[in-house]
Symmetry: C2
Subunit: 355 residues, 2 copies
């Protein structure tokens, strides 16, 4: 359990991100956590680079609507401060906390008495120099796994088993192989991530490919998409990955064609309008409504038979259909308002207490 | 072979998209094909909904820098017109060309004598009604595969084996299962696609997850990402998927951190600037240069050891490093120009005839 969020043991795969505010700026940090909670974030991680940041943790934990994990590098003392502050978890990077293991008995004692789980977060770029040297100074999948298992063994020696592991690299293939190896060697929750994945497009695709391949094999219990972009974007991408594999219910789904030389309706604009409109409806949560936006009759009502509601463009007009049956034909200029009206009716019916 | 592009048999996985211009508008269509070629598209498909469109095909084929495939629904006569026009391939949808099989001997004869390959393109929404009925009116993975294999058998009966197959659905899990089943049953090139995948984010993630899982198993020879967005975006996402799995060389890679409460440099802006600058350099093709943009010293030069060049933010300054070694320290305001200058030097060296 990370706070009230179960991780591993068959629980739903949870979505995490990190705040980008200064942690010592409590108001800004809490405000960002609130926004990320609305975006669908399940667990939030905050960095603690300085004592000023560590001092802010209790106030953030108190006000955060979701469980807070602190991310500790270099300074073991912040681990104790975090646990005292009531965090839901602590991430440690064994590669860059000097003499971490010398203090492990005290850390484990504190974590145990406060029921705080730990994450052993291994990153390709901050591997233990000895392990790195052993692998030809290349952070291979095997090197990442060796570093993680070595640290896990230290925790286990102290009878502490309440930990998750991550082994992140910026290359999807290296990352995939690392988690595959790791899942064969140890049975603990795994936190998936591709580190330094890059800007939005490159990072989203790297993460989707990596997590897709791993989750399909049943590997991975909690995920964090890393993008050089807003953390809310990381949450959106993470949720989309889970939804793609049926691991998270969609609030809504848009079945829209890519458009081609046949298109008779402005599908791109219409799909965006529907997406924006639906995303802004707080009452849509869990409805799973499927809306089709199809450019032509070739792949129109038929192709979108499974949609709850949809529109197919025709010459100068649009056919509104429900479950593949045409219910109304409107002029091109009326497509958008007619579609939105039908969607509204559908959602109202969905939300009716008598449904 | 689709024109000069090999598909299947261990060839590189190729990237396709469709034009969104009116096909009869030859100038606009050729202009869009040129733009898509620059974006990295290997094969282009054009719709032929009317006779006017079919008449334009010869002129488009003549001027297109990449192989042209026509997409034929409903009208078998356009298949013959396309083949006469010298297209590199024809896609037929067996679900909506009536009496396709009655005319198959003539189609196959024309395709054979012009060495034109065919794609049997099955879509969930336009399945043969008999097959659909057999599967409880649900376009299951099994129904998609049955429709594809039934049509493939018709081609094979006529001693025609120069075809690829696609079995597209809007749901990744159904699509993945369909291609997995198909690859066990038949040994021909497979064209991967998730149909009506939706707007950019949803569609990109659906495609990345689906193609990632299939390509990792060695399933898939050519891909088309379907988005309700510009076709150039489909090409960009398709290429990123291939690059993520090491199936396509990167022109450049950005290793940039997601930023957190530790950041000392504006990573998002800097990463975007580097991305835009590199994408605009025509001489970068194939260089594979790795540029790191790191927000802080925790994961800076060390984390980005594998980068050719990079920057790590510090308090009021930035460290420029090459292969993990700091080569210059500059004031915050000088980070962007200094990084771009070093990148330029590196590319100039890369491009030097004496390297």
């Amino acid at each position: 359990m990370v706070g009230n969020v179960p991780v591993g043991g068959g629980a739903d795969v949870s979505v995490q991100t990190m705040t980008t505010t200064r942690t010592w700026d409590v108001d800004a940090t809490v405000e960002q956590i609130r926004e990320l909670t609305i975006a669908g974030c399940d667990i939030i991680r905050i960095a603690c680079p300085t004592g000023k940041d560590a001092d802010a943790v209790p106030l953030i934990v108190e006000q955060s609507p979701i469980p807070v994990i602190t991310d500790i590098h270099f300074q073991p003392s912040y681990i104790f401060k975090s646990i005292e502050a009531g965090v839901a978890g602590v991430r440690v990077n064994p590669g860059n906390i000097r003499r971490l293991n010398d203090q492990l008995p005290e850390i484990v004692a504190a974590a145990k008495s406060n029921s705080v789980p730990m994450r052993i977060g291994v990153n390709a770029g901050s591997l233990d120099p000895q392990i790195l040297a052993k692998h030809g100074n290349i952070p291979t999948s095997e090197a990442l796994v060796e570093a993680a298992l070595k640290e896990a063994a230290e925790f286990e020696k102290l009878n502490f088993f309440d930990f998750a592991i991550s082994v992140k690299h910026h290359d999807p293939k290296t990352t995939i192989k690392a988690y595959e190896l790791l899942s064969e060697k140890i049975d603990c929750p795994l936190h998936l991530g591709v580190t330094e994945a890059g800007p939005k497009l490159q990072g989203s695709i790297k993460s989707a490919v990596t997590f897709g391949i791993l989750l399909e094999q049943g590997i991975g219990d909690t995920i964090r998409v890393s993008l050089s972009d807003e953390p809310a974007e990381e949450v959106r991408v993470g949720l989309e990955i889970l939804r793609s594999l049926g691991l998270r219910q969609r609030d809504f789904e848009i079945i829209s064609c890519p458009t081609c030389g046949r298109k008779e309706a402005d599908v791109i604009e219409l799909a965006k309008l529907v997406e924006t409109t639906l995303a802004e409806r707080p009452d849509i949560k869990g409805s799973g409504i499927k809306v089709a936006v199809m450019g032509c009759i070739v792949n129109g009502p038929g192709e979108a038979r499974e949609a709850d509601i949809g529109v197919a463009g025709g010459a100068g007009k649009g056919q509104i259909f429900k479950k593949g049956e045409v219910v109304e034909t409107v002029a091109s200029s009326e497509i958008a308002p007619a579609l939105l009206r039908h969607i509204d009716e559908l959602l109202t019916a969905y939300l009716s207490p008598n449904r």
